[in-house]
Symmetry: C2
Subunit: 436 residues, 2 copies
């Protein structure tokens, strides 16, 4: 009757085995503790939303990738593809209930029907943190400090945050007379890291209709040697001209650059090629790279935006934020062999030497747990070898052995699984003292 | 250009504001710490799966409620409606990689297009924990002990776990000659709590074709006064007869009942009306009720099953588990005014008295965070009243004030926001000592 159906999952989706999931949960605990220490609070939003809410502002690229369908009530719905659009909707909907400036984090899954490839999945976890309701450089700086604090807490080795100013770049495009072509230019520059200077030049020539303009743009975005923040700012000032927008961008970059370099010399660098593609940013933008694995791409990106929720309310709401791509980060740390160690081991396994003693075994375990230890009870009277094997797989420190005779006398034996030393005829308290 | 679109969410879905989400996350932290102390490990599975994987065994009721659609690759996919079916698929797919007995927990969202009503949502969080690979009474007992430990750790007042044995009930149905009608009978008995004895009797008469049989069934499921586990077992033994299945059920119930009553007198009771409807259980089953709010229904249910993953593999895999309905539990605790308190307050808010000092303010904050405190920096030079208001909303203990003159002298003032006491001219270290 029961024909076996091949167990399988969808392309681009993944199971997380205990060790992987323990690592992921541990990383999430670590970053959320950092977020909380900065006064950020968690929120959650539905995984499904009305498609017109999610897709109103999106470009065609996003729309092609989104999981969208009609639900049983014929509503046009979609799975969220990021945490920013739901956040905009959330802030608009609850603006009367929130304290501003509002600082929230949201760690959750998002879905994109991207072509699966190394490190790219259709389901992945993002960790977003944003401050909305302040235009201050202090907020910009805070997000940068949080990126630093998060990666330090994660013990990720050798990280660089590359920052730039989108408003300044826009001022530059206006000065050279191609403000109307910014979309194509941004799309091209965003590919610079992947396709290289030559192909980007060709793309830019196509977009702007001029090889000279393409060269001008590439001169602007050229990576300096990053050692001198101030010198790069001065170069950009010359290129972007003296419009009010350019002046604002330069001022902000100088102020932020000074603070960032004081706080963490070398951790923050100014890289004019960072523009964040078609995103809605208007001020500073940044991407975060692992120095030993830059090719995996940015593991934490973000920037400042003028107006988060303009689609959903009239009040203008400026903000600044960032998003850690947790799954990409895990993949990177795996490659760098910099992931935290195995599952935390168990303190003890109570062996099953006689099935009828199960309640006694569980009492022994409870007495150890009451003292803060992690303890398992082996459920079946399997051969000792099998139970030792199980203990080893779970990284267990001590085996507790109790025969019916021991139980009658109220004693146990404890075996240290590291050095195989056995102590016999112990009371429950002696057992606990040894294992603690 | 930008027409405002009304921010709104789908019926049956919810946003979680910071306070609610903090509570939910705190409850999850608490139960997962309990699970880990018993040696359970976390896993995760995709939110979307092939529909034939998820729906193969489901009844029509489930199929009507599931969010199912064709993805962009024309695959027939669905959002998971529980965590058990994905777990079955997971175990079958990864059986070579898992240690058995395998004890996992999974805390995640599931979706059902149910008619939204009080305490019922279309998106909700479940906390599942199962042991697979053991048929022992020890495993049954462990799950019961974990339910107790979880509700104790959650500090949920006055809880009762009502347990029963599905195999024994099936033996009883066989003895009275209506084994072939068990589906309808189970469906009817599952409604007993909601629709009452009279209507259930009518339903059972319809299902079995006999008012006498209906009465026999209701005599079996009759709630005793729950004070005497052993007396109820004996009554069921008489009614269910002496078949091998009945004998197995009675033996298991006696063994488990003795251990459960020793471990927690009054916490576990035997209630023959608990059958868990059409679920796949074959052994003990249980539901968990809040004594002061039984009408909200079970907040933690589960049982023993013969074969978890029979649809996906040939090996038989028995197991036992339970699932905490976290969102229903939160709703119940809210009603009972037994929810944990507000957001944890912040230790300090560094006031913004001069915007140009932002980097200095962030340094002060960092020095406090380095000593383990949670600290915010107010980003804008708003009037003091506004900043005090913000501090109050975030439950902040101390305000740190620093004018340009203070900064030049390397000092700050600290105001205790509870008693309004101000201390001036403090060094950074003195500030930290006061706030710590």
């Amino acid at each position: 009757m029961n024909e076996i159906i091949q167990p399988r999952i969808l392309k681009g989706f993944r199971d997380f085995l205990p060790q992987q999931e323990t690592i992921r949960a541990g990383l999430i605990d670590t970053v959320t503790a950092v977020f909380r220490s900065f006064g950020f609070v968690p929120i959650d939003t539905p995984v499904l939303e009305y498609s017109d809410i999610l897709l109103r502002k999106s470009d065609g690229e996003t729309e092609k990738q989104v999981f969208r369908f009609k639900d049983n009530g014929e509503r046009d719905v979609a799975l969220r593809f990021d945490l920013t659009v739901p956040f905009a909707r959330f802030v608009a909907e609850h603006r009367e209930e929130l304290p501003f400036p509002f600082k929230r984090y949201h760690v959750a899954k998002v879905w994109r029907g991207e072509k699966p490839q190394a490190g790219r999945y259709r389901e992945f976890v993002q960790c977003d943190f944003d401050i909305v309701g302040s235009e201050s450089v202090s907020s910009d700086f805070e997000i940068l400090l949080m990126i630093k604090a998060a990666f330090e807490a994660l013990e990720v080795p050798a990280v660089t945050v590359r920052l730039n100013h989108r408003g300044l770049f826009n001022a530059f495009l206006a000065r050279i007379g191609i403000a109307d072509k910014s979309e194509g230019v941004l799309r091209a520059i965003d590919k610079l890291g992947k396709i290289g200077r030559e192909q980007t030049a060709a793309l830019l020539t196509e977009v702007t209709g001029s090889a000279g303009t393409a060269e001008e743009i590439l001169a602007y975005t050229a990576a300096d040697d990053f050692t001198d923040f101030d010198a790069t700012v001065s170069r950009l000032e010359d290129l972007a001209g003296g419009s009010p927008e350019a002046a604002r961008g330069i001022g902000r970059l100088r102020e932020l650059g000074r603070a960032a370099q004081d706080a963490a010399p070398g951790f923050f660098v100014l890289d004019p090629s960072i523009t964040r593609g078609l995103d809605y940013y208007t001020g500073i933008v940044y991407e975060t790279f692992l120095n030993d694995l830059p090719e995996i791409g940015s593991v934490c990106s973000g920037g400042r935006y003028d107006n988060l929720a303009g689609l959903y309310m009239k009040e203008r709401l400026p903000g600044v934020g960032a998003s850690i791509g947790l799954d990409r980060l895990v993949a990177a740390l795996e490659k760098l062999a910099a992931l935290p160690a195995l599952l935390p081991g168990m303190d003890a396994l109570i062996f099953c030497q006689d099935a009828s003693l199960f309640a006694h075994y569980h009492r022994l375990a409870a007495s150890l747990r009451a003292r803060g230890m992690s303890v398992e009870v082996y459920p079946d009277p399997k051969p000792a070898g099998k139970q030792y094997q199980y203990a080893e797989k779970k990284g267990t420190r001590f085996a507790v052995l109790c025969t019916p005779e021991d139980a009658a006398r109220g004693v146990v034996s404890v075996k240290n699984l590291a050095n195989r030393e056995i102590r016999e005829h112990l009371t429950a308290e002696e057992m606990a003292d040894i294992i603690a």
